[in-house]
């Protein structure tokens, strides 16, 4: 109604008061001549018709456009429009960021699709002590399956683990090969897939060429088969292999990264370099630290 009051009264006749809805509608349709309006609006005629004839100004289209330009778009309305717009924009942006964050959090907490790699096993270390999956707990372990008579791939992979460990421990401030200031949180494990030939003493000798923290594990054929099954590792040694024989063992060559809870985290193939292993382990460590607040 504010707009109507502001209408200029050039003629002697007054502005007829129309309801605001009518005013809005009239913005979009050119006004009809007065008499035509009178005939439609039933209750006004015929007595009211005469009275309103004196009260009402006949508005032209030009007057309406003039009223529109100053009326509907006042500085107050414009300011309100801008403030509401900006406010909504900020609100939506905030809401979007909040929802995204929530979704991200949910995704991080969900451990969907974690491969079922690893599990219980009972083996013997290279220095003759019993070793089970429980001995992996509390450390980040890098597990590799191989055999001491391996011509080239196993030593290359073990060299890779050795190099990665050196780098990782250095990053944590350890003086290789001594103990670190954070404690030693990594455990490299070599599991033999050649139980007929790989005795603990032979594994001890073999591991001298690699990182000093390596633990070598071996068991009888059944124990080896069982641990390989748990880690989804294929190996070709027959159960009745000749301990003196000269043969090779065909086997899977992944390095498995297990978290301090003994859960599978990642697998590194032959194509992944020592530096990439370092990056991936560091990434896993960071995520772990964010979630649990500790390193192991």
């Amino acid at each position: 109604m504010l707009s109507l009051a502001r209408c200029s009264l050039s003629s002697s006749l007054r502005v007829r008061q129309i309801p605001s809805t009518a005013a809005w509608r009239s913005l979009h349709t050119p006004p009809r001549p007065f008499f035509q309006r009178g005939t439609i609006s039933g209750p006004q005629q015929p007595k009211d018709l005469l009275r309103s004839l004196f009260k009402t100004q006949r508005r032209t289209y030009a007057q309406f456009t003039e009223r529109n330009s100053v009326g509907a778009f006042t500085p107050t309305a414009a300011a309100l429009f801008v403030v509401t717009g900006v406010g909504l924009a900020f609100y939506f942006r905030y809401e979007k960021a909040r929802l995204e964050e929530e979704r991200e959090k949910e995704r991080a907490q969900k451990s969907y699709g974690r491969p079922s790699v690893g599990g219980p096993f009972q083996l013997t270390t290279h220095d003759g002590k019993p070793f089970t999956e429980k001995d992996l707990l509390g450390k980040w372990s890098l597990v590799y399956f191989g055999f001491t008579n391996c011509p080239d791939i196993c030593p290359a992979e073990l060299d890779k683990i050795t190099a990665a460990l050196g780098k990782l421990r250095e990053d944590l401030g350890c003086t290789f090969p001594g103990e670190s200031q954070h404690g030693d949180i990594f455990l490299p494990v070599f599991i033999s897939v050649d139980p007929a030939r790989d005795t603990p003493s032979q594994i001890t000798q073999y591991l001298k060429d690699f990182h000093p923290s390596f633990i070598g594990l071996v068991g009888d054929y059944a124990a080896t088969k069982s641990v390989c099954k748990a880690y989804r590792v294929y190996f070709s040694t027959p159960p009745n292999a000749d301990p003196k024989g000269d043969y090779l063992v065909d086997h899977s060559i992944f390095v498995y990264l297990m978290d301090p809870n003994g859960q599978f985290m990642d697998a590194f193939g032959q194509a992944i370099t020592a530096d990439e292993v370092v990056d991936k382990v560091n990434e896993a460590l960071e995520n772990w630290q964010k979630q649990t607040g500790k390193k192991v």
Partner: protein
């Protein structure tokens, strides 16, 4: 350990880094000789690389020799396949 393992290849002790290194070097020398005479499959070179072959066989276990020889054949076949695939790729792009 070094003198022990190098004295007898057939014992069950694990090969050391030095043992492996020596084996790989003699293998590379033998394969280089095969390349020179244009032979892919070991054993088809006649007497051309007998000196290198003797060194190779003296420093690597038989299972390793079989494995390396086999892999050489596979790698050559792969090289050929890759070259052909590249050619086809080039031709398809034109």
């Amino acid at each position: 350990m070094g003198w022990f393992s190098s004295s007898s290849k057939q014992d069950t002790s694990a090969p050391t880094r030095e043992d492996r290194q020596k084996c790989w070097e003699t293998r590379d020398a033998y394969f280089a000789c095969l390349d020179r005479v244009g032979v892919v499959k070991a054993g088809e070179e006649g007497n051309a690389c007998s000196k290198e072959k003797k060194q190779y066989e003296g420093n690597c276990a038989k299972s390793w020799i079989d494995y390396f020889n086999q892999r050489r054949v596979i790698a050559e076949a792969q090289k050929e396949r890759l070259a052909r695939a590249n050619e086809q790729n080039q031709a398809a792009r034109k």
